[in-house]
Symmetry: C2
Subunit: 187 residues, 2 copies
């Protein structure tokens, strides 16, 4: 029984890389087996079904993301404009771009497909919002709204400018300016 679980974990790790690279298309069992160095037969031995496999890998990815985010940002409170600034730098980096693209994939699936993707996407989203809200140095009543605004602005770039990172720059800079202005007024 233990070897099964070990292999399962190993497969999850390998597929994590693959999913971040290529997203939620290209998810045929035979293809995934090839990537993971096994057979489709074995994948369905380690996992109950393809859906369970997907859910396992995606939640594993979500965990890894929040870990590296807290590592990157620390736990001290920051003003909204600095948070957005740091987040935008990260979003453009090769390390984080795959996560954002995968998240976009997931959101698209969540809007249509079965409850599987929806619940995973919601879980990731609220985790992300909560994390950022706890980081923002703003009045309690505004935390969640500001966090959602910042995240939405960054995600929106993905929708608005597919395949590019350059064109969204000005919009983000504008929002940074707005947030900074607000901080000054309130101070």
């Amino acid at each position: 029984m233990s070897k099964k679980l070990d292999k399962r974990a190993e497969v999850i790790d390998l597929l994590t890389v693959h999913f971040l690279d290529t997203g939620l298309s290209d998810t045929g069992l035979r293809r995934l087996a090839e990537v993971a160095g096994t057979s489709d037969r074995m994948l369905l031995y380690y996992f109950e079904s393809k859906d369970e496999l997907l859910a396992a890998v995606l939640t594993h990815i979500a965990g890894g993301l929040s870990a590296s985010l807290t590592q990157l940002f620390g736990t001290t409170l920051l003003s909204p404009d600095t948070v957005l600034e740091k987040l935008w730098v990260a979003a453009k980096s090769d390390g984080f771009k795959p996560y954002l693209r995968l998240w976009l994939d997931l959101a698209a699936h969540a809007n249509r497909g079965g409850p599987l993707f929806l619940s995973i996407a919601q879980q990731i989203s609220t985790g992300w919002i909560d994390w950022m809200a706890s980081l923002l140095d703003v009045p309690e009543a505004n935390k969640e709204a500001t966090a959602a605004l910042i995240l939405a602005a960054v995600d929106g770039q993905l929708v608005l400018f597919p395949g590019e990172t350059k064109r969204g720059e000005h919009a983000i800079l504008q929002l940074i300016a707005l947030l900074r202005m607000q901080s000054k007024v309130q101070a």
Copy 2:
């Protein structure tokens, strides 16, 4: 030759409705044929290939959207906060929600799939940004950035809160407040 073109246009109309309803999944030729009241054989008679069919329907949808947007907003200049306010009301309405969800689908496909979806998505995006930029009563240098910011904020809600419309409300209201504050400062 004329009947072929007539049928082609009719099929595009019928599939427009279907795509807005169900997005970019469920696009098997046999299923689309059923929706359009024909056979798969005939679809490939009216269109060169499935890709050409998709491209035709999607660009038709894009045209319809920009038409109803200009009808809704008119051509007089508006302040950024009122534009966002009106856009958000529209985004929540049953009439426009399907467009936004389809756009999200398209953006997700554009990030991975072939050049087909990418070019269509880019075309729609720039069309939308240009339209909004021409509507904004702000200095010329800021038009595009503000337009992109507003659109990104609205689109971002889709990514951030899949399946919901309620939770994004506060973030949008916050951005409206920020934009209004900026207008006053500049005046």
